[in-house]
Symmetry: C2
Subunit: 602 residues, 2 copies
């Protein structure tokens, strides 16, 4: 039977007590972590957000009724215990904040009883995710989950503190927006007042933050919930949180400096990690050349090497024909793996093919000084030796090569580099390697649409010195003032300088192949807004969930979100989404095609 | 033609300059407030978020090209101006922060031109709301709108600062929730993965915050976006923001103190208003008796007086029959209005009827010492004189009476009191009268359903000393540990102590007329969660939009929200909600009944 706490007042949290409190009478309230009966004594570890406190029940002190009550408590009962803080006589626990003290109970109330929980409330449990999520309220009691969400709260506090100090205003933008055909799939919200019309939940506050710059707010930020109705991957949720900012009257340097300062301050204050000042920068071109990725993990080497010159006339047709069609040949040196077995190498070849390569060439520089290669019969020994030298290989190294057009050649090797680094455990776990990737191409060729698309979005400012190329047709070489912030190979976020000059915007639209009228159809009120005095402005957004995941070394983004959804976008605890009354749908002028796919095909 | 800001760096904002900067060369960027040509000089007031700065263009300093450029600028052009700060020679403006200095321009760039704005960018405009909202980005440039949103940002910063200091964790709860039949109408979000299923946008984080207490987070808060699909009134928006908190191991006193401290700190820091400590409290009963409202405006008197005893056997059947059916007779004294004309009094009678009264009785104590009353012929002069005395009336006072069952009698007079106070301008505008209204009835009789309903919600804890009445059937007299925070007659928010004891919860459900099984159907996973050790907990939420509206004395809640919606829940700027592609609906297994009501009737 549960008791009231009337008349009681909690003195502090469990682990807020220390030896300084010895002799004081206090009241603690919390959950029973465990109970042990030791001869004529009962010990209970009481748990709350702060940690544990050992409670000693001695019948001589707590009385027979209290002692009986203590004897009946089980794991996860909620207790209120009043008693005196004393030094532990035995079993001092060095691993516990409060390990040298205990509370000698004088009275006890059982505020709430508990069923046996479906899994133990402790760290490192092997419980299936489904069960943890169904009983999320119990999963969240575990210290590691508490730690994650407490850190998350501290981090958002710090972000807000430093943003305010830097003159940013936090301004809320609408959640019920207009649906646009651009970008990912929107979550829709049917309107009751306007039959057949829908709101969309925001994929980002992009348009509104640019409008706030037009409004003269100068510096905007928001920790904003965003939504994408896409099939989920491990690090994605249908709703996610991003730190979103926009600044007026700035150039790229200001945005990068402001964001770097924020990240440095937050990482230092929250987890005691010093981020270098300045945060290293790399152009997109360099990142692709050296790491085969626009979000390189720089915590380890195994960089890509351009061997096109070396193999220019080598006789191996895979290499030479790639070069002949303006492609490239790249390699990586996997140190110490020269004796890798055939099966493992075959798996790497399969991976390369899965990533889009036609194949993967290799040279094994074995530790017995012999050389085995997938292409030795096509190449002279001298050329082979030149290639090995160019790759700086020693006996015991494995060399892997791709030959393809630039993007495929480097990206496939980049993928293999990452896979091998994980398998070979080459990645130092305690490092936080931030990196700015800058100067992205403004345009990206779409094989599918057979035309150039804007890589970022059509409001992204190209470099002034590249503007002439907008008309010359050499769109692929135009660099834009776009930037990504990368942490340990994860793209945290990015942004760009926006075009504020109408003439440049017009040339940009033209290069993308649509007229000002078409642009107006697509971007409507933003272009109208820009006619009334738009300041130069720029912005950036980065994912909060991902950042907290990296800060806490959590296995999954779900471990840093209080109530996450699973892969099919459902909530296992509340059973959302669920059916609704017909009346609700009637009010929205909607009908569900209950047989789904079938009905639609009719 | 717009120019680039390349190579320029803004030194500071316009009104961040002062006489201390005289002699310095600075670069300012902002919008043209106005341009005046004065002989051979051009003056431009440049505006940004901080305020205005006067720019002086003298051809001798800025050169002929710059002078020509300055001559061409119009309102809302965006300029970058570099020049030297100097003391104004004439036209010192005392009303302006920077009124004694000016910038002597040495160079000027036009960063962006502007069309003529559809309304002037200044305070106190009479422009129609529709136009202001269509061009919201221009409306937001006006100083009063800037001030409102800057204050809002400061207030949320302060709230977060003080909540963190008090040990509250900000934890994000899901936006994509399960729809429940309780409460107001949900906004629904169709699921693509689960055909025929829907999420609901949260009306409040209520369930999740209680689950966070079950999880042991101890103190939760969130500045949370909430949604209600209800027809809009002046002070309502389809999406609104509330400050939401929940605490474990506390009683009512803790919640009231914590919230009071927060409000005191925020009002002091944000707008320099000292709120009394403690904030006054009033029981619901007292609030109804004295002010005829559960959210009394205590900035003025005109309190209700119970004259039931005085008129107990007065002969006026309207009064006596009300008393006979356990009703009551109440009056207010409208001082100085004894000579009110018949038309005005008739309007008050109409108002009383519109509010649910059968009528409104009155006595005019005219300034010429005569007395006129709607019921004089039914009452002896002696009784009449007793009544006037009981109402403490003087010559020149107007006395208004209702006779009805308690709730109607006092609420109608409460409405009339408010209406008269506004009309007679009795309300001091510069006061912030906070008030806690406590001890709400736990149950409320529903004529419609012919049964008692929970006034707050069925998890609200009744007073321990009233618990026995749960079974005695005298439900109307059970007081609950529920509380509202009221500011100037506006209900900012409220909350309650939650029931954490399963036996009391069961008795509560029983009193409300449903079994534990039915309760489980309705409240599902929350009741399950409560089986695993639930701490005593309590919480509260208050509306941020309303509070900022009162702090800024804004006319409408729309003036403190960056991008609000209008009465039909549409956004006049973006035209949301809007139509979507058939393909989008197909993916959601939905069909709109395009002819609306018609189709549904088929």
């Amino acid at each position: 039977m549960a008791e009231s706490m009337q008349g009681l007042h909690r003195s502090c949290r469990c682990a807020e007590l220390s030896e300084a409190n010895i002799g004081q009478t206090v009241t603690l309230m919390g959950w029973v972590q465990k109970r042990r009966n030791l001869g004529s004594l009962i010990f209970v570890d009481l748990r709350d957000r702060s940690g544990l406190m050992q409670i000693l029940f001695d019948e001589k002190i707590v009385g027979s009724e209290g002692f009986a009550r203590a004897g009946g408590v089980r794991s996860e009962y909620v207790l209120a215990v009043t008693g005196r803080v004393q030094k532990r006589e035995a079993a001092i626990n060095e691993n516990l904040k409060t390990g040298s003290i205990e509370l000698a109970a004088e009275s006890i109330r059982v505020l709430s009883e508990s069923e046996v929980p479906p899994f133990p409330i402790e760290d490192g449990i092997k419980t299936k995710d489904e069960l943890r999520l169904k009983y999320r309220y119990l999963d969240l009691r575990r210290p590691e989950m508490q730690k994650n969400l407490i850190l998350r709260s501290q981090v958002t506090n710090l972000i807000r503190k430093y943003m305010a100090e830097d003159g940013f205003l936090e301004i809320e933008t609408p959640m019920l927006q207009k649906s646009t055909p651009e970008g990912a799939r929107d979550y829709l919200v049917p309107s009751r007042v306007h039959p057949g019309s829908f709101y969309a939940l925001p994929q980002s506050p992009q348009l509104f933050k640019q409008l706030l710059m037009v409004s003269g707010f100068d510096r905007y930020f928001q920790i904003a919930r965003c939504f994408r109705d896409e099939d989920l991957r491990a690090d994605r949720q249908p709703e996610f949180t991003q730190v979103d900012l926009e600044m007026s009257f700035v150039d790229m340097e200001d945005v990068l400096e402001t964001t770097s300062r924020l990240l440095r301050n937050v990482f230092r204050d929250a987890i005691g990690v010093e981020i270098p000042d300045p945060i290293p920068r790399m152009t997109w071109q360099e990142a692709m050349e050296r790491f085969g990725s626009d979000k390189p993990d720089t915590r380890f080497g195994m960089e890509l090497i351009d061997v096109s010159d070396v193999v220019a006339d080598c006789g191996f047709s895979v290499f030479t024909s790639a070069l002949a069609s303006k492609g490239t040949v790249r390699g990586i040196n996997v140190r110490g793996q020269g004796d890798m077995g055939r099966k493992k190498i075959d798996k790497l070849v399969d991976l390369a093919k899965a990533c889009g390569a036609k194949g993967l060439a290799y040279i094994q520089c074995r530790s017995d000084d012999t050389v085995k290669s997938s292409f030795s019969k096509f190449m002279s020994e001298e050329k082979m030796s030149d290639l090995i030298k160019a790759m700086d290989a020693q006996a015991g190294d494995l060399l892997l090569f791709t030959a393809d057009r630039f993007k495929t050649a480097v990206e496939v090797l980049g993928q293999i580099r990452l896979t091998l680094a994980r398998e070979l455990e080459l990645i130092p776990e305690d490092q936080f390697n931030f990196l700015w990737v800058v100067d992205f191409p403004a345009f990206e060729w779409s094989d599918e649409q057979n035309r150039f698309l804007a890589m970022h979005h059509p409001f992204t400012m190209p470099y002034e010195e590249d503007l002439d190329k907008l008309e010359s047709g050499d769109l692929s070489s135009i660099r834009s003032k776009a930037y990504d912030i990368v942490l340990n190979g994860v793209e945290l976020g990015g942004g760009s300088i926006r075009i504020h000059q109408d003439d440049i915007q017009e040339r940009m639209f033209k290069a993308l192949g649509f007229s000002l009228e078409e642009a107006r159809d697509r971007f409507g009120f933003l272009l109208t807004a820009f006619e009334y005095g738009v300041p130069p402005h720029a912005g950036l957004a980065f994912g909060l969930d991902r950042m907290i995941m990296l800060m806490t070394s959590a296995d999954s983004i779900r471990d840093v979100i209080a109530f996450p959804k699973v892969k099919d976008a459902s909530d296992l605890m509340t059973q959302a989404p669920g059916p609704v009354d017909d009346k609700q749908l009637e009010e929205l002028y909607l009908k569900t095609l209950s047989d789904g796919q079938e009905k639609i095909k009719e």
